[in-house]
Amino acid sequence: MESREALLANIKTRQKWDFVFAVAGLLSLMFALVTLLALIVDLAMTGVPRINYEFFVNFPSRFAERAGILSAWVGSFCIMLTTAFCAIPLGVAAGVYLEEYSKKNWVSQIIELNIINLAGIPSITYGLMALGLFVYKLKLGQSILTAGLTLGLLVLPIIIVTTREAIRSIPNTIREASYAMGASKWQTIRYHILPYSSGGILTGVIISLSRAIGETAPLITIGALTFIAFLPTAPFDAHIPFVNFKWLMDPFTVMPIQMFNWLSRPQTEFHVNAAATGIVLLVMTLIMNGGAIWLRLRFRKKMKW
């Protein structure tokens, strides 16, 4: 009889601790959420009324109400394009090689460790490296190309790591089945590994790009400008071959830099502009992350094993 009571008491204490942990967890979650919500609501209350069509099509101006973010969002967009263009092929290829081709020995382990390490390096370090290499050695100047390459290098490790994770999640039986049908390694990768892992890879790519879009430090280090009231050269020509890449060498500014500049002004009207830019940036990141989730779900549905 007594042992039964002891058991009941024991169960009770265990249940009590369970409850305590659940409450603590919930409180932590609420704390994070409430802080985030307060920040966003505060930003939205100041910024949202300022967002209108003119805000997107006007250049920066000394009059807060006339100022817009045209050069900033176009700059951010062009840089994201360049970053994606150089980082995705390199990152995915490197990830596939490391996972599928390279021998697993101490050399590959060192490389692996270094890539993971690189993903955690402060972004300003990349800026310093880019200043020395791209701006001065290769003489690319303070251009969209320099910025794109810098951010490309910054997100490269993230893309490599997520690509590897995505590939690793594919069961080995798929590879074996493919080889059993006489497929070469490349055919297996091309027709099986890459399509099946593309959901995960794309998620990684988009998340890394949404990190890059908010980066300021490395761009300031390479000498990004603050006031620009013109757009990069149009990429289309009237004559053959109809496209050009002159815009890659044009100077640029980006949304976080524009935001920072407005925030440091004495007039509150400029602070409102900064809040509005923050909202635009937030919504863009949200759309990108939403896109990543949607893509992942779509690819998961398409997979038939």
Partner: protein, 332 residues
């Protein structure tokens, strides 16, 4: 391989990139930025996109490094060029024209709840801010026994700022010499908030920030002393008192430096002329104090005559009248 690709791509790009709209490259001080930004905005509108102007904010020091390497056409500077920078420019063969373009004043601010001071003498400010005050002057009553026995909380510019250089030079007597135990920030809005929220705080901020926050801050008048034009009378910073030099010693001219080599390009000369001709109307719009009208005229004359070099011996000077300054001969 990656680098090779980049290099080939880059060289093919730079070959095609030259036949383009001319670009005027400007960099330097964040204090001067709003003025040059406004000028660039107006100039580009006037030129209807035939000329492009870019403005960066690397700070006066960072900007001079670029300027003396010949990377920029115009340099924004919140203080005159220093000896080491002059040396760099000379080595690289960069010659320049120095043009004062506006006044910037530093305001002493306290909380509106502060009811025991309305003016301060330079000596009192020095007592609060000099390096030897560190650890010794902790209470308001340490400066003046009539003031409350409460902790004196100081707010000021960070040591990379031109405002810091000038404030220390004008108050302590030596640039960059200041006590270290105060709340320093490069962001002037942080200083404004800090002073506004504390009854026992005192800080110095650029005049534009004090003027924009008159509801949150009380601006303290400054007694210049023997060297000042108004002697022992307290002067509050305002457009008039800065313009006529009675707000002493915390007001100073800010400059642009134009590279002589860049002046060979037509659009640079046009831009600088535009800058000087519109200074009187645009400078107040961005909340700075314009120079007297004849100073802009003399500036234009200097530009036409290509008067090279600096009129400062590589260091700042306190309480300088603009007409004296414009008459001096430049040294390179």
């Amino acid at each position: 391989m990656f680098l090779n690709c980049v290099m080939i791509l880059a060289s093919s790009l730079t070959l095609t990139a030259h036949a383009q709209v001319p670009v005027i490259k400007i960099d330097g001080s964040s204090t001067v930025f709003p003025i040059t930004e406004a000028m660039a905005e107006e100039f580009q509108t006037a030129q209807r996109g035939k000329v492009r102007v870019t403005v960066g904010i690397s700070g006066t020091g960072g900007g001079f490094k670029k300027f003396c390497r010949g990377e920029t056409d115009i340099q924004n500077a919140s203080r005159p060029i220093q000896t080491a920078e002059l040396e760099n420019c000379r080595k690289a063969g960069v010659k320049f024209i120095e043009l004062p373009i506006a006044y910037d004043a530093t305001a002493i601010v306290v909380s509106p709840k502060n009811d025991w001071i309305s003016s301060l003498t330079v000596a009192e400010l020095k007592k609060m801010w000099e390096p030897s005050a560190q650890g010794k002057i902790n209470l308001w009553s340490d400066v003046n026994p009539k003031w409350p026995k409460e902790k004196l909380k100081l707010f000021g510019a960070g040591s990379d700022s031109g405002t810091f250089d000038y404030f220390t030079e004008a108050i302590v007597g030596k640039a960059k010499s200041s006590r270290g135990d105060y709340t320093a920030s490069e962001d002037d809005n942080t200083l404004v908030t800090g002073v506004a929220n504390d009854k026992f705080a005192l800080g110095y901020v650029p005049f534009a920030y004090a003027q924009e926050n008159t509801k949150k801050l009380k601006i303290v008048a400054v007694v210049g002393g023997d060297k000042a034009p108004m002697k022992d009378k307290a002067v509050i910073p305002s457009r008039e008192s800065v313009e006529n030099g009675t707000y002493f010693p915390l007001s100073r001219p800010v400059f642009i430096y134009v590279s002589e080599k860049s002046l060979a390009k037509k659009e640079i000369g046009e831009f600088v002329r535009f800058y000087l001709q519109n200074g009187a109307s645009i400078v107040p719009e961005v909340k700075y104090v314009p120079l007297p009208a004849n100073a802009y005229k003399i500036g234009e004359e200097h530009l036409n005559a290509k008067k090279l070099g600096t009129v400062f011996g590589g260091h700042s000077e306190v309480g300088l009248k603009i007409d004296q300054l414009m008459k001096r001969e430049g040294a390179q």
